[in-house]
Symmetry: C2
Subunit: 550 residues, 2 copies
């Protein structure tokens, strides 16, 4: 197909999509709204802008003049927000370090990302000092602290304390325009195998992701809407996929923002009551704390909107939150996707439905893809799967805000983007209403008799047996079926369940047409503990390995 | 400043911003919402998509295979909306013809734009037939009609009637991806001198303009907000700068849309009552009709949000509309700017203020620039003017959605973009709250004694004299001051006002420091009629010319 392109006037300005435009707008609409850090700091958007300018001057004074990677190792803070802007706006790359990784993994990511500077909270200084000799690219550290002083043992070059450095420099900085495809951020995703992998996002990608969130959460009249009169308080770490992109949304629109520092339930509840946030995002565990912690029982949660991600929102928790008046929905995304790909849409009519169980079902869906998100579900041969709510396939994606590869991992980058679509490794179905339902990770799916069987669905079915406390299902090779499921079960009384009892229990699902007879686990082990990963997920790789050695 | 760019995986998809993504999303959230055309057509977003596919197949069958310009000459209609998508999505360029131009100007724009096909309402066929011999590039016509038949005199090649052509082709079409910088639309702007000038916008520009409107009207908690539960009814012609971009916003979000066809007050009011629109945009004259027409006195306007543009919203009209409960604000833009550059922001606190005069003042401001809009006010030497609410300068702009030139007008393109900023020709001040106030067109400003004096402000002052019915102020050369103002006055009784009386009247403004003594018009003519342009604006060029010949 032919298209027409026209030459521009010689001086016409080809406006790049840069993060600096997000900050620039923060002082235009509601500049007096506040950015709050714990009970320690409280300033407006004019001050944010001046402090970002100051941080840029500090970087320049350290001869960090673009194209360098600067890591941040801090809790959620106003400083972190400043780094979200000053580092990419100076042409540098912001590396948000996941302090939940092991020390060895953190060291790996610092060296692999080629960090030259680390902006580090004093709490993490001992960690960095312990690995000082092995850091290959870091030239120095800026220390952040809320205390009058901090302890350092001189194994690191410390340029100074963040506030002291900012105090010395001008609060003006003229940020230049540059190519919108410049890399702005990077961070690492950990699979169950191999080293962490670095994803990266450009200025253009982050601007478009920001505008996409504004469209999804404001223009679409769904549940859990955001506008700039909301008070935003993130409850996921800012290192975690740009805090899902919301700090950029809140800053662009000029909403009040509240950052809680180190997560301690008591102080979080104190800040919650004082600042009265209306919009947050978190993993289910944090929501659980808010809903069930005795100290929250007298707190009004009915003006609080919460987006849940990271793992599936359990229905009992959704119900408990809804009963407290929380406007909760789930979203879906991953490190490779910036992250937001889909969010639950509850239509105006559905929002009027007062049946609590209806609302629980509606709000725990995986969600509807955002605008400018193309989703294709594919089988193992790469064929497209129908959107009929039943057939399942791997979610593959195209959007304007996907990592274009893994940093310095050519083979894994090619595999991620094989066939021109980003392969998420998640298996899902999509119904005719355009609502996605995630079934499993693709490596956990059991490919049996030419069909894909969700290990999670089998776990849910087995879990309904009265004697079962916890269960994990993995695949084992099978000469006839290709693969068949193997179940590892923890029983309530610690004793094995008979084969007959389990088969009788599973027969109801076979009879109902939900599974085929050959996907009833023929092989079952009983155990006292199911192996888990460091973030609490069932470690199916370890389970498969243990079977191989049986 | 250095930046870092990273290579993508070889098959990574570099997602272009294309209009097809806007249409693609229209069937995802609320696909059953309706597009309504008068009382004749009513269909949902699935049908819209199929009809866009059909129109693409019609174009393909006519061997219009991209990079060709296709003109539309229709009233606001569902067909026009289909053209907003099918024409650019096939790589072609949509030329929206302004049927308010003179026949000679319409012919000029058809030939200058190099239209190969015109999709033409039957009402305009006689016009096209009258110029058939002079159209240099048009190969044929598709006729649109709501009647069973139409009259044609065979001077034109007619491919067929729109609906009949659509009926013959498949409702499937696979729109390809292409460069987001492909031109999508073009139309002509008429100044007071010379031929109409063609502006043009790319897919990327229109997508970003769409997302910008969503941010401004949804995420910002101002007055006159839009979300996709609104019922959208444009009251400005769709040829007029993409109907200000809102058809793309309404389609992306899946809002109900109502198109009124030929503007006839009685039928418009009938459709208004039947479809109950909640969001419209129009020029002041149309709002005036809704507020003051006797037939509207029993219509509830209190759920209606209206954006006013095209010319300034008179305060008495703003007041009358507010008293009817209309949530009205003004916006600013022009053909060269896609168009939206600024809209009035009324803060949540201001919205609570029940004083009607306060609301009138708040809502008749020129507005606050949108995000990603950089405004620089400059004097004649190109120096930046302070934002202090007093100093005035020409508005120059950078945004991601400005025409990059005038089609086939290299010199005018260079002049438009001199110094790397788009020169609007509008003179304004900006206050510290980032609110713009337009004073005049730059060519009407009186440059006197080193200062810029707004001809409109002088007209307002003179207009307060009890004997004055209407007044126009233009500049005349002056040896001492460079320029001085000249006033052309229509009095209420048709008799001249004495020089002494006028000077005494103007002295109050001099004494109040609003104008300098030398900007009191020394030269005054009296007349019975002030010359106007075809769109009703004071024709200052004609007035200046008439003085020259005195």
């Amino acid at each position: 197909m032919k298209i027409r392109k026209l030459a521009s006037a010689s001086q016409a300005f080809n406006y790049p999509l840069l993060i600096k435009s997000i900050l620039a707008y923060s002082t235009k609409i509601e500049p007096e709204r506040e950015i709050v850090y714990r009970d320690l700091i409280r300033y407006n958007y004019f001050t944010l802008t001046k402090r970002v300018n100051k941080l840029a001057n500090v970087l320049e004074s350290l001869e960090i003049d673009g194209a360098q990677t600067i890591a941040v190792l801090d809790y959620d803070s106003h400083r972190y927000l400043e780094c979200f802007f000053a580092i990419p706006m100076t042409g540098n790359v912001l590396h948000t370090i996941n302090w939940r990784l092991s020390a060895a993994q953190i060291l790996y990511t610092i060296n692999h990302a080629e960090d030259t500077l680390i902006i580090c909270h004093a709490d993490f200084l001992p960690l960095l000092e312990s690995m000082a000799q092995e850091m290959t690219t870091v030239k120095g550290i800026i220390v952040c602290t809320d205390e009058p002083s901090y302890k350092s043992n001189n194994t690191l070059t410390v340029y100074g304390e963040y506030e002291s450095l900012l105090a010395k420099v001008s609060d003006e900085f003229d940020f230049p325009d540059f190519d919108e495809n410049a890399v702005a951020t990077t961070f690492y995703t950990t699979g169950t195998t191999g080293n962490p992998k670095g994803v990266y996002f450009t200025h253009r990608q982050l601007v478009l992701h920001t505008l996409s969130i504004c469209f999804t959460f404001s223009t679409i009249d769904g549940a859990c809407r955001f506008n700039n009169s909301d008070v935003y308080m993130p409850l996921t770490p800012m290192f975690h996929v740009h805090a899902w992109g919301f700090p950029y949304v809140a800053t662009l629109s000029g909403a009040k923002q509240v950052y809680i520092g180190k997560f301690e339930p008591e102080s979080v509840l104190k800040f919650f009551m004082k600042e009265q946030p209306t919009f947050s995002h978190c993993v289910p565990t944090i929501l659980q704390m808010f809903v069930s912690h005795p100290a929250t029982q007298n707190i009004d949660l009915s003006k609080w909107k919460v987006v849940i991600g990271g793992s599936a929102l359990p229905k009992p928790l959704a119900k408990a939150a809804l009963l407290r008046g929380v406007d909760v929905i789930t979203g879906y995304g991953m490190s490779e996707t910036c992250p937001i790909v889909s969010t639950v849409y509850v239509s105006p009519e559905e929002q009027q439905n007062l049946d609590i169980d209806f609302q629980v079902e509606a709000r725990t869906r995986t969600g509807t893809p955002s605008a400018f998100v193309d989703i294709r579900l594919v089988d193992e041969q790469g064929n497209t799967i129908a959107h009929n709510g039943e057939d399942v396939g791997e979610i593959t994606l195209r959007t304007p805000w996907l990592t274009q590869g893994y940093f310095k991992e050519a083979d894994k980058s090619e595999d991620l983007w094989r066939d021109g679509w980003l392969h998420t490794g998640d298996v899902a179905s999509m119904n005719k209403d355009n609502s996605l339902k995630i079934c499993d990770r693709i490596k956990d799916v059991i490919k049996s008799g030419g069909e894909w069987v969700s290990s999670i669905e089998l776990e849910n079915m087995i879990g309904l047996h009265e004697a079962v406390q916890e269960v994990a299902v993995v695949s084992i090779p099978d000469a006839k079926w290709g693969e068949r499921p193997h179940a590892l079960i923890v029983t309530k009384d610690g004793k094995a369940i008979s084969k007959e009892s389990l088969h009788a229990h599973m027969k109801q699902f076979v009879d109902a047409g939900k599974i085929t007879p050959w996907t009833v686990p023929a092989s079952v082990n009983f155990t006292l503990v199911i192996p888990k990963t460091s973030v609490g997920k069932i470690d199916k790789k370890a389970i498969r390995a243990s079977i191989d050695t049986v």
